[in-house]
């Protein structure tokens, strides 16, 4: 029997490990100065401004290592960073709109080089098609990749900028000239880039240089920029477009890549696993750091459940995601984390068809046409969507505070939202669901006198497939709509987005995820010829109102304009917002200052406030 013992010993160890399932107190937390932040995607590049690298994780890492004239807080407000500098409108006429951006003196990059206005000029190179063509860097709209492979070309900035930005004599101020007043002009200002490092790298330097050499390099950039020196700019463009596309960083990586003016600089990175940033001791370009955090780590975990389990296991300090109700309930059970309920920018909404989308066969369904029968039935249909029930059953378990949307233009919490929803006609769609159903049924019976739950009117709905929440949403809608005399016939499509425009569907539901805070962001959904107008909306009166949003407006005028637009939209029954997609952030109990934002900057926008 001797033979058994050794094996038994091994077995005992294995068995006890396997069966050890006692719930005991978690391990004690050590004093930490490190914060580990979860992200779903792996970092692919340290430059998030090319078309291939435009991922949120890339820009999050960038957000920690650089700061400019403003940042956007968790309520989508644009906050000026006066430590870095100031900007103001210096000329304001209908055809000449000028803004001056001034950098404060005494600010430095992480390599000690003082920051000045030349560092703001790269923005123009990255955004202006005209400059790119004129400097021989390629036409961004052509079949050839431009030398600066930027995704900033062809936008509002490019469409409105006049000439080159002008640098002041003391090299601290840059003035931009636009050909007209533009809405949200404060978002199109230049951001600082350490251009001297690009020049040095283009010249083949592999390490940090002296401040004097750095300033000389910057002057070389300025000379090339003003004279449109194609050869020099091409070399810089190559560095800018390619050299940041690395995912493995160690001691041997060129330190010139990591020069920045943010609170943290890249220290190391492991491919597909993590990026580590260390505090920048020379940081003085923005709000003062709390000082208790010296290392920020981004850790990449694609699977939501796995990330939550990693959080439970103490491998993460900040987890953010769009988990299921169960994942949230499980997170709530953890003793070592705080849950911050949140929302992301995506809003779920139901749309109805008016006419065929451009290029589609005629639409002759029950919702056809503006006004009259079409509008009444559209309104009845939207009334029959049980928004309250959907919210309560699908969203409340994740974010109990989530409200029903009264507008699809701006989100709850934004300045003026209350006034907006009191006046924009959304109250028509609010009430007990029984009352709404009755109201809807009356509208339906105007045109289909025999409509009832047993003799319903068919509505064909595009159902986005492969999404349990939307399947449940549709099931709830279908069950309730019957009471209002509608039979929702769902067509489930896994690849649904190209099919929204098909005339087959009377209605669709999905989400838009605006990633910016621009005034005119929703225009494309309703204007004739708008890129997202897939339901054939054609209301000249509405178009005129929406056009006003293209110009800068103060908050009051902005809200009033939306009220006017949404009154029409609600009276026509074009769209109805249901809920904002919930997001959840779970944070290590000891960590303070995490305020998730609905925009893609997510938790990283206020890195200076983090503390233990």
């Amino acid at each position: 029997m001797k033979f058994t013992r050794s094996a038994k010993f091994a077995l005992a160890a294995a068995a006890s490990a396997a069966l050890a399932v006692s719930l005991l107190s978690p391990a004690q937390a050590a004093t930490r100065s490190t914060i580990v932040i979860h992200d779903t995607n792996s970092l692919t590049s340290f430059n998030s401004s090319t078309p291939d690298t435009n991922l949120t994780i890339n820009s999050k890492v960038g957000a920690l290592s650089g700061i400019g004239f403003y940042y956007i807080d968790n309520k989508k407000n644009v906050i000026r960073n006066t430590t870095f500098g100031n900007f103001k409108v210096v000329k304001n006429t209908a055809t000449d709109f000028r803004i001056a951006y001034t950098v404060n003196p005494g600010l430095v990059w992480s390599d000690g080089t003082p920051i000045n206005g030349v560092d703001l000029l790269l923005s123009h190179v990255l955004s202006s098609n005209v400059y790119s063509k004129a400097a021989g860097l390629g036409d961004p709209d052509s079949d050839n990749v431009p030398d600066f492979n930027s995704n900033g070309y062809g936008g509002t900035y490019n469409d409105n900028i006049v000439g080159l930005p002008v640098l002041s004599a003391d090299k601290m101020t840059v003035t931009l000239q636009f050909k007209q007043k533009i809405a949200n002009w404060d978002l199109y200002g230049p951001g600082p880039s350490p251009v001297h490092t690009l020049v040095l790298m283009a010249e083949g330097k592999k390490g940090l240089q002296s401040v004097k050499d750095n300033e000389a390099a910057r002057d070389r950039f300025y000379a090339a920029y003003t004279t449109k020196n194609t050869a020099v700019l091409k070399a810089i463009g190559k560095v800018w477009s390619n050299d940041y596309n690395i995912t493995q960083v160690d001691d041997k990586t060129n330190p010139l890549l990591w020069v920045g003016n943010g609170g943290f600089t890249v220290d190391s990175a492991v491919t597909k696993s993590s990026v580590t940033l260390k505090v920048n001791p020379k940081y003085n370009s923005g709000p003062k750091l709390s000082g208790t955090i010296d290392t920020v780590i981004f850790k990449f975990i694609s699977d939501g459940t796995a990330a939550a389990q990693a959080l439970a296991n103490g491998e993460l300090d900040v987890y953010s995601g769009q988990p299921t109700a169960d994942a949230v309930a499980a997170l709530k059970k953890l003793t070592n984390v705080n849950i911050i309920g949140g929302i992301n920018a995506c809003y779920e909404h139901w749309d109805t068809r008016v006419n065929a989308a451009p290029g589609q066969p005629d639409y002759n369904g029950l919702f056809k046409g503006h006004g009259g029968k079409g509008a009444d039935l559209r309104k009845a249909f939207l009334l029959a969507i049980p928004r309250e029930e959907i919210n309560e059953k699908l969203i409340a378990p994740i974010n109990p505070a989530a409200p029903i949307l009264g507008s699809t233009f701006i989100a709850p919490g934004f300045d003026g939202y209350e006034r907006l929803i009191a006046n924009n006609g959304s109250s028509y769609y609010i009430g007990s669901q029984d009352a709404l159903n009755a109201k809807a049924l009356r509208l339906v019976r105007k045109y289909y006198p025999t409509a009832s739950a047993s003799n319903p009117v068919k509505v064909t709905v595009l159902v986005p497939g492969n999404n349990p929440r939307r399947a449940a949403e549709f099931a709830l809608a279908k069950a309730n709509a019957l009471k209002a005399g509608f039979d929702l016939v769902g067509d489930v499509q896994a690849s649904w987005s190209p099919k929204i425009q098909l005339s087959t569907y009377d209605a669709q539901f999905f989400a838009y995820c605006p990633s910016a805070v621009t005034q005119a962001g929703s225009n494309a959904n309703f204007q004739l010829g708008g890129g997202n107008n897939r339901n054939g909306v054609n209301l000249p009166q509405l178009d005129a109102i929406l056009n006003k949003l293209q110009l800068p407006l103060d908050n009051r005028a902005y809200i009033s304009t939306i009220i006017a637009a949404e009154r029409i939209i609600n009276a026509e029954g074009l769209t109805s917002g249901v809920f904002l997609h919930p997001a959840v952030t779970a944070v290590n109990k000891n960590l303070k200052g995490i305020k998730p934002s609905p925009l893609s900057s997510d938790v990283v926008w206020n890195w200076w406030e983090w503390s233990y």
Partner: protein, 354 residues
């Protein structure tokens, strides 16, 4: 200590007796009868067969069945379309829709209205699981049938005719093996809008027969050289007759066993594909989709996680055991388990012989 603890003497004593038992037992029986007898002696396989049949009957009769315009009502009160009131109260830890099933005789003893609980929006989870199990069973049988049919036909043609036909068909097999199921499933799912469960099953069946075809081919290659085939040919039998009447019955054991393995594997393949989002997608229901959807419910609403898992495991387990029983039953060299009673009889016979 005795890892190889078979007592040599016992083997020698029994060798003669065992054969005697085995031979006596099959005297004068057709192959079918022998197989049936052997199978029913495999206790685990019989239990599995009974369990699986019960599950199938249970699952199919639970919900309404629609065949064209005819609707056969099921015995369960809810359907997957009903959205009854969601149960909030008295659930552990503030969960919603917990099971009403209770074995505590003092409070609410019995099934209650939602024995498996309810999902997020209140649908009866028992109905959902039954619906999912139906789909999973359907997928399993369709894959088994399609793969089995194609595999047997291709394998036997390939093995029987050999030469050119064989090499062409075997390259086709190679070809199909190089196309990863998961990629094709994803591609087809995206192209067709969505893959309905039946379509998914047919398609997995169309890809899943390669292993079986190889096996059937190998069997045919060796069997067609046997004397009895020559005898049949001399007697004037046609090729088709030889293939189906003479060779196929000899290979049927292996084929059936392989098909059961394919079926057990199919239910897991469906689960895996659904987990990755390339299989059955919402709002269709399958067991695999249910578990992957409620994977994160493990600590909060465990019933949503355990029940579909329980059905998947039970079904796969039963099919595997049935396959094992069939393997034993069809294997001519397989000796049945020698029980104590047999041993005693053998000893008595030996004594009598002395």
């Amino acid at each position: 200590m005795k890892l190889f603890g078979r007592k040599a003497t016992e083997g020698e004593i029994l060798a003669g007796g065992e054969n005697a038992i085995a031979n006596k037992e099959v005297e004068g029986l057709s192959q079918g009868q022998i197989v049936r007898r052997r199978f029913f002696r495999h206790r685990a396989a019989v239990i599995a067969l009974v369990t699986l049949s019960s599950i199938i009957v249970f699952v199919i009769t639970a919900l309404d069945t629609k065949i064209g315009p005819i609707r056969i009502p099921g015995w369960w009160k809810w359907t997957v379309e009903d959205i009854p009131e969601l149960r909030y109260l008295d659930c552990p830890g503030g969960a919603t829709g917990c099971p009403t099933f209770s074995i505590n005789p003092s409070s609410n003893f019995g099934l209650g209205s939602h024995p498996f609980g309810q999902d997020d929006i209140g649908r009866d989870y028992f109905a959902l699981v039954m619906n999912g199990a139906r789909r999973s069973l359907m997928i399993m049988f369709v894959i088994g049938a399609v793969s089995g049919f194609i595999g047997v036909v291709v394998g036997s043609i390939s093995g029987f005719y050999g030469k050119k036909i064989d090499s062409v068909l075997m390259r086709l097999v190679d070809f199909l093996q190089t196309v990863p199921t998961i990629i094709i499933a994803a591609v087809i799912g995206k192209a067709a809008g969505r893959v309905g469960p039946l379509f998914l099953a047919l398609f997995l069946g169309l890809l899943g027969w390669t292993g079986l075809a190889r096996l059937v081919r190998a069997q045919f290659l060796s069997l067609r050289e046997m004397e009895f085939v020559d005898a049949a040919r001399v007697a004037g039998a046609s090729n088709i007759r030889i293939a189906f009447k003479h060779i196929l019955p000899n290979a049927i054991g292996q084929i059936i066993v392989t098909i059961t393995l394919i079926m057990a594997g199919a239910i897991l393949t469906e689960t895996a594909l659904s987990y990755l989002g390339f299989g059955v997608v919402a709002p269709d229901v399958s067991l695999g989709l249910l578990i992957s959807q409620y994977e994160s419910s493990f600590t909060t609403r465990p019933w949503l996680f355990w029940w579909p898992g329980f059905f998947i495991i039970s079904i796969a387990l039963c099919v595997n055991f049935i396959g094992d029983g069939l393997r034993d039953a069809f294997d001519p060299r397989q000796r049945r388990r020698i029980t104590k009673k047999d041993r005693l009889q053998a000893k008595l016979q030996n004594k009598a012989g002395e």
